[in-house]
Amino acid sequence: MGLLRYESQVRPPLVNGDKDYHQVTEDICRPVETRPSKAWWIGFIISVLVLCFGIVSVTMEVIYGVNQWNLNKTVGWGYDITNFVWWIGIGHAGTLISAILLLFRQGWRTGVNRAAEAMTIFAVICAGQFPIWHMGRVWVAFFTLPYPNTRGPLWPNFNSPLLWDVFAISTYFTVSLLFWYSGLIPDVATLRDRAKLKWRKLFYGIAAFGWTGSTKHWQRHEALSLVLAGLATPLVLSVHTIVSFDFATSVVPGWHTTIFPPYFVAGAIFSGFAMVQTLLVVTRKVLALEDYITIEHIEVMNKVIVLTGSIVGIAYLTELFIAWYGANTYEGFAFLQNRVNINSPYGWAYFIMMGCNVLSPQIFWFRKMRRNLLVTFFMSILVNVGMWFERFVIIVTSVYRDYLPSSWSTYYAPTIWEVGFYMGTFGLFFTCYFLFSKYFPVIALAEIKHILKKNGESFKEKMTPVENETLYEFVEKHGHDHGA
C-alpha cells in the first residue's frame, strides 16, 4: 500500500489538518445538519426578495410585451442577450472543473467541484430565462422544438445557430444535472445514514436512491463518471462555441469573425472561475471549510484566471489588429470607431472591459496576490463586471450603428424592467445556491475521502521518511507491494 498512497512532498496537501474519514464526514455534513446561521437567513431572504422583483419585471414584459424593454430599431438584442451570454459563460466553470480536470487527474478539483457544478446548473437556469422571455410570446416557446405539429408538419430550421443553441443549452443543462446528481448520490446516502430526524430520513432517503456503497456499484459509478466527463468535455467547449455562432455566423460587422469560438470559450472559463471564486471564498469562511477549500485551491484557480484572462486579452488585440489589417471599412468602423474610440457613445464600456478583463487579472502573476483572499474576492467581482461589459460591447456596439445612418439609434439604455429581470436572475441564482449549501454537502465527500490518504496533510507527513529514502531503499521497501 505504500506506493498506492505515495505522493511527493513537493505538492502541498489538499486537505489540511489531521483528519480521518469520519472527521471529513463530520466537517462536511455539519452545515447541513445544524440550523442555518443568521447570515444564511439574511442572505436567503434578500435573494428571495430580489427574485420577486425579477418575477414582477418578467410579468410586466409578458403582459405588455417586449416593448417594456428599451430595444429599438437597430439594437434588437440588448441587455437580455448580454445577460444570457454572461450567465451561460459563468455556467462553464463547473463542468470544466469536474470534467476536464477529472480527465487531467487534477486532485484539487475534489475540493471545489461539487459547489462549482451546482453553480453551473443554477447559472444555466438563469441563462435560459433570457432567450425564453425575449421571445415575447413565451407561451409558444415550444415552437423551437421539432415536434410533429399541425402546420405541415413544419420543422424548425436546423441550419440556424439559434436552433443549435436550443439543443446545445438544453443538452448542457441535462448532462450537467445528471453528472452533478450522479456524483451527489453517495454523499446524500451518507447524510441519510446519519439522519436523526424523521423528515431528514425521508428526504435524504428519497434523494439517495437507495445507494449502499457496494463495490460493484462503485465500479459502475467510476465508469459512469469517467465517460460522462469524457462526454462533458467536448460538450462544454461546444456550448459556448455554439453561443458564439449566434454572432459569428451573422454578417454584422463586429460579430462576423472566426476568432469567436475559442475567444468565447476562454472568456467563459474566465468568468466561470471568477464566479466560483466569489462563491467559494465566502462559502469556505461561512461554513468553516477552510481545511478543504484551502488557499492552494484558491491559488490554482487564480492561475487559471490569469491564464484565461490573458487569452481573452490576446483575442481582443487580435480582433483589433484584423479590423485594421483586414481593411474592411465596416468592420474597421465597428471596432475602431464604435469601440476603441473613447469619445464614441459606448467607448467607456470598451475600456471598462479592457481594464477589468485584461489589465486587472495580471495582478495574479504575484504569488502573494494569488493567495490573498480579499484581493481574490475583489478581483473575482471585477472580472465578472468586465466579462459582462465584454458581452455588452460585442452586442450593443456592433448593432447600434448599422449600415444605414438614418436608422442609427439613439443611445440604448435599459429600462427598469430590463434591469429588474437581470437582478431577478441574481435572486434566482443565489436562492438556489443558498438552498443547495443548506441541504446538500457543498464538498464532494466521497471524492475527498478518496484522495485523503494521498493528499491529506497528516498522511503526507507520514510520507516524509519515504521521501528521504534512497532509490534502492524505496524499491526494496515498496517495489513489490501492490496490496497483495
Binding site: 441550419n159 450522479s182 441519510r192 436512491f209 449502499t212 456503497g213 457496494s214 465517460v227 462526454l231
Partner: protein, 196 residues
C-alpha cells in the same frame, strides 16, 4: 430472493482490507459484497469482479443519438419539407454537425445514467438493507454469505484474524423493495398465514 444469513466484518483501513479480501477469497469463502464509503481503486479486481460494460452501452447510446439526429434532419430538410435557404443545398451536412453532436452527447449521457440506475437498482423510494450504517461514513464492511455448510465460528475467527472489527452474524434482505427510510419497512412485512 429472500432474507439470507451473512457474517459481516468491519474494516477501517484499506491497507487491512486489501489483504483480507485476497485471503478470504483464497480460503474459499464467497464474498457477498464489500460496502465502502468511497470508491477504492483495485478493490473490484481484488474481489474478482468483472469489468463493467457500461462504457459499451454508452457508446451504443451515443451512436443511436448520432443516427437519430442525422437521419431525422436529413429526412425533415430534404424529403419531408425541403426549404431553400439562400440557394444552399438541401443536404447541408456541415450545418447539422452541432445538433448531431449535441444529440450524441445527450443520448449517451441520459442512456448511461439510466442504465447505471437500472443496473445498480437506484431510484427514488427504493430501499435496501444495510449491513452497517457507517459504511457510507468511514467503515469498509465485508459481508460473507453463509450456506448450510458454513461453520460460523470458524468464519468469525478467520475474519477476526484478518483484522476485522465487530464480526457478527446478520440476517439481511438481499433485494431492493419500495419503501421509505423514515419507516422501518421490510420487503415481506405482512406475511399472511395461509387459510386452510
Amino acid at each position: 430472493m429472500a432474507v439470507k444469513k451473512f457474517i459481516t466484518g468491519n474494516f477501517y483501513d484499506e491497507a487491512v482490507l486489501f489483504p483480507a479480501v485476497t485471503k478470504v477469497r483464497r480460503a474459499g469463502y464467497k464474498i457477498h459484497d464489500v460496502y465502502t464509503p468511497f470508491p477504492i481503486h483495485g478493490l473490484d479486481k481484488a474481489m474478482g469482479l468483472r469489468d463493467t460494460g457500461l462504457h459499451t452501452a454508452g457508446f451504443i447510446y451515443g451512436i443511436t443519438g448520432t443516427c437519430t439526429a442525422l437521419g431525422f434532419i436529413t429526412w425533415a430538410l430534404t424529403l419531408d419539407w425541403a426549404i431553400n435557404f439562400g440557394g444552399k443545398p438541401f443536404f447541408s451536412l456541415p450545418a447539422w454537425i452541432p445538433i448531431t453532436f449535441e444529440l450524441t452527447v445527450l443520448f449517451a449521457s441520459v442512456g448511461m445514467v439510466m442504465t447505471f440506475c437500472y443496473l445498480c437498482q437506484l431510484a427514488p423510494f427504493v430501499k435496501k438493507d444495510h449491513f452497517n450504517a457507517r459504511s457510507t461514513d468511514d467503515t469498509f464492511v465485508m459481508a460473507l454469505e453463509c450456506t448450510d455448510k458454513t461453520n460460523e465460528q470458524e468464519v468469525i475467527g478467520f475474519l477476526n484474524n484478518l483484522g476485522a472489527k465487530d464480526v457478527e452474524v446478520q440476517y439481511r434482505e438481499t433485494e431492493w423493495w419500495l419503501g421509505r427510510y423514515d419507516k422501518d419497512t421490510k420487503r415481506f412485512e405482512r406475511k399472511v398465514e395461509p387459510v386452510h
